[in-house]
């Protein structure tokens, strides 16, 4: 078919008309081969403007459209829709930005006009090589798999279920509630943990949209966003296959094992506990029915709480240890009012609204704070000795009846294996890593898999809930029952004929969107997973990887004409 390119220059009111000599632009491009019409219009994005464009496409039987106007950010979609209405494939269109990057930045009208001509010529040259692209639609399953039934997993499940999504909540333990279940009270308001948790657990159990699978673990995940197939195995029992559209990973964390740090005397010196153990001792359904006792059955008269145990080794601040250390001090003070509590800290981490007050409140109850470095715990005279270097650098020793170690947090065991099964990344600390700290804080590198709560990094309950709600919200917004998914159209493809099977593309793809077909010895792009960055097209040594709508030819011709 004969090429008929229509070129339309928008005056954009006075915005472009005053800065660019539009007549000169039209004269410069109207004689270019293939250009059937070149005209100006006062405001192409207005209703009349769009009508004018549509009629022109039809009237002239245009095969390609170039509009010289504002930034693609403003109206690329507007004009693509016009094309569609006029029966022209919207990808046979190119927008030349002669406003933001021309009229508005150049004082001199001659210079601006020359630059505008260059832009329009380049757009004409590029549009010739455009290839019609078709929108794709795929069926999507709105059901969701939630892994881990701690506060984050529970919250996400409840929110998803409230919008009539079927949720499979998989938990490897026999009961749900996660770490919070073991807590008596919660900082900073010291309210009862069960008062928060029990109603939620009840809601989960009673909710018909939530299928709870305890003592179960995920063994395999196949497929992609909208269409995952998951294998879940019940302990010692049967395997089940689930079809879901999205996954929330909320597997939480665990206490770092301090027995590897001999300086803390853990396991060797009596009456040295980790914070988790102390929490259990304090719990009404713990081994001592909630009584805080020393090994010999007496109540302690003095307790030291050591902060930052394992921070150096782990290489990060676990964020909640300072706060739960304050909580433990409050437990102690309320159970044994005359007990002397001393916190050995190196830096206090009290971010956020309520925590400064929580600290002052705790201090006000008669809790001492000592800034200390190089803390070592040893057998002392009639108790436990805390050896430390004080703020002035002096070595000091103090004796206590009991020592509690505020240990660092690390990812729940099994995280590495799960990351492999799900094909999502972990950071150097071992926690699952978000797609982007700011732009995708609960997404992962695999579309449709989200992370929430402490699986992403140590955090408090309120932040865990925020993330759970965010993950659920993302899923609710993207997977709507009955609605099909429209994957990105401008994705990559790999030519079977040119691919030499070097797998370079696979190594640069951030989305695991490319796999290797062993049979044909070539790389294959999964068009649903591909986000269309074009990295593989730049990396491919044989020219087999093509980035649709940003092909080598298209960019090359735009470039050559720009420089002519």
């Amino acid at each position: 078919m004969e090429e008929k390119i229509g070129v339309y220059v928008c005056e954009c009111g006075p915005n472009i008309a005053e800065k660019v000599d539009i007549e000169r632009v039209l004269a410069a491009v109207s004689s270019i081969e293939g250009v059937a019409v070149a005209e100006r219009y006062k405001l192409l994005c207005s209703e009349e403007g769009k009508k004018f464009l549509k009629e022109n496409i039809e009237k002239h039987g245009l095969t390609h459209l170039v509009v010289a106007a504002c930034s693609p950010k403003q109206h690329e979609l507007t004009f693509m829709n016009v094309c569609e209405e006029a029966g022209l494939n919207p990808y046979l269109f190119q927008l030349a930005n002669i406003r933001e990057q021309c009229a508005w930045i150049i004082e001199d009208k001659d210079e601006a006009t020359e630059k505008a001509i260059r832009y329009v010529r380049a757009a004409i040259s590029r549009v010739r090589y455009h290839i019609p692209l078709e929108k794709k639609e795929i069926e999507a399953n709105p059901d969701v798999l939630v892994i881990g039934a701690g506060v984050a997993g529970i919250e996400a499940s409840l929110l998803l279920a409230s919008r009539a999504r079927k949720v499979y909540l998989v938990e490897r333990e026999s009961s749900i509630g996660g770490k919070v279940k073991g807590f008596a009270q919660l900082f900073p308001r010291m309210e009862s943990a069960s008062a928060l948790l029990e109603p939620k657990i009840k809601q989960v159990v009673e909710n018909k949209n939530i299928e709870l699978m305890t003592e179960s673990e995920v063994e395999q995940l196949l497929g992609f966003f909208g269409n995952f197939v998951v294998t879940v195995r019940k302990k010692g029992g049967e395997e089940r296959e689930l079809n879901v559209g999205a996954v929330v990973v909320a597997t939480g964390l665990q206490e770092f094992d301090v027995s590897g740090l001999p300086q803390y005397g853990y396991g060797k010196v009596d009456n040295v506990y980790t914070a988790g153990e102390f929490e259990r001792m304090n719990s009404p359904d713990g081994p001592t029915q909630g009584k805080v006792l020393l090994k010999d059955g007496r109540a302690p008269r003095s307790v030291a709480i050591i902060h930052c145990v394992g921070r150096q080794e782990k290489g990060y601040c676990s964020r909640v240890c300072c706060l739960y250390s304050l909580k433990l001090a409050q437990y102690l003070k309320s159970k044994i009012p005359e007990v002397q509590v001393c916190q050995f800290y190196s830096d206090l981490c009290l971010p956020g609204k309520p925590y400064q007050r929580f600290y002052e409140e705790t201090k006000g109850k008669g809790v001492d704070f000592i800034r200390a470095e190089k803390v070592e715990i040893s057998e002392g005279e009639g108790g436990v000795a805390v050896n430390y270097s004080s703020e002035s650098g002096r070595l000091e020793v103090r004796n206590f009846d009991m020592v509690i170690l505020a240990t660092a947090m690390e990812p729940a065991h099994g995280s590495a294996k799960l990351a492999e099964i799900l094909n999502i990344g972990r950071g150097v600390e071992g926690f699952f890593i978000e797609e982007h700290e700011k732009l995708g804080p609960v997404s992962t590198s695999l579309e449709g898999i989200y992370i929430a709560g402490c699986a992403q990094g140590p955090k408090g309950i309120s932040e865990s809930i925020v993330q759970a709600e965010a993950a659920a919200g993302k899923i609710l917004a993207s997977l709507v029952p009955g609605r099909k998914l429209e994957p990105e159209v401008k994705v990559s493809e790999i030519s079977e004929a040119f691919c030499i099977g070097c797998k370079t593309c696979i190594s640069v793809c951030a989305y695991n969107a490319i796999t290797f077909d062993e049979l044909r010895r070539i790389s294959v792009v999964n068009e649903v997973l591909c986000r269309g960055c074009g990295n593989c097209a730049a990396a491919c040594p044989s020219g087999a990887a093509r980035h649709r709508h940003f092909t080598f030819r298209q960019i090359y011709h735009e470039l050559m004409e720009t420089l002519r």
Binding site: W104, I105, A112, C533, G534, F550, Y556, L559
Partner: protein, 141 residues
């Protein structure tokens, strides 16, 4: 050098950050030299080194590759690849005796309209001092 020499600088700008930053410079009506000729790509990692070389052979006086700040690429790690390819490209330029200072890599975010204009102004001044790309005359196309 010639007084009125206005260099032609090809700018490969990623859609999410630098292209948007350039738009912002326009919206803020910050004036800068017309030297820059933008080519919009989805991510700076789309910039095939061949595009850069072709630009020079076609007579560009300089090339700018610009994208999101490290860590801010909308495709996670794209700009790290860009950075590596850029380093290799500079090496190749040096090896071949081409002027590597006609290449520039910049990270400019969507909110840095002022910085975009400053980078272009500064780069243009430098290239003006250097004069036109000699390759233009030497290579037969």
């Amino acid at each position: 050098m010639e007084e009125d020499f206005m260099p032609r600088i090809i700018g490969f700008l990623c859609k999410w950050c630098t292209y948007a930053g350039a738009d912002l410079a326009g919206v803020s009506r910050i004036q800068y030299p017309p030297s820059i000729l933008p080519i919009r790509v989805m991510c700076s990692s789309r910039v095939d080194p061949l595009f850069v070389i072709s630009s020079f052979l076609r007579g560009a006086d300089a090339v700018l590759v610009a994208g999101c700040h490290p860590g801010d690429c909308h495709y996670q790690r794209g700009n790290y690849y860009t950075r590596r390819r850029y380093a290799v490209l500079r090496k190749i330029f040096e090896e071949l005796g081409l002027e590597a200072d006609r290449l520039r890599l910049s990270w400019i975010s969507a909110s840095e309209g002022r910085r975009f204009a400053d980078v272009i102004t500064d780069y243009t001044e430098r290239i003006k001092k250097k004069g036109p790309n000699p390759v233009k005359k030497e290579v037969f196309l």
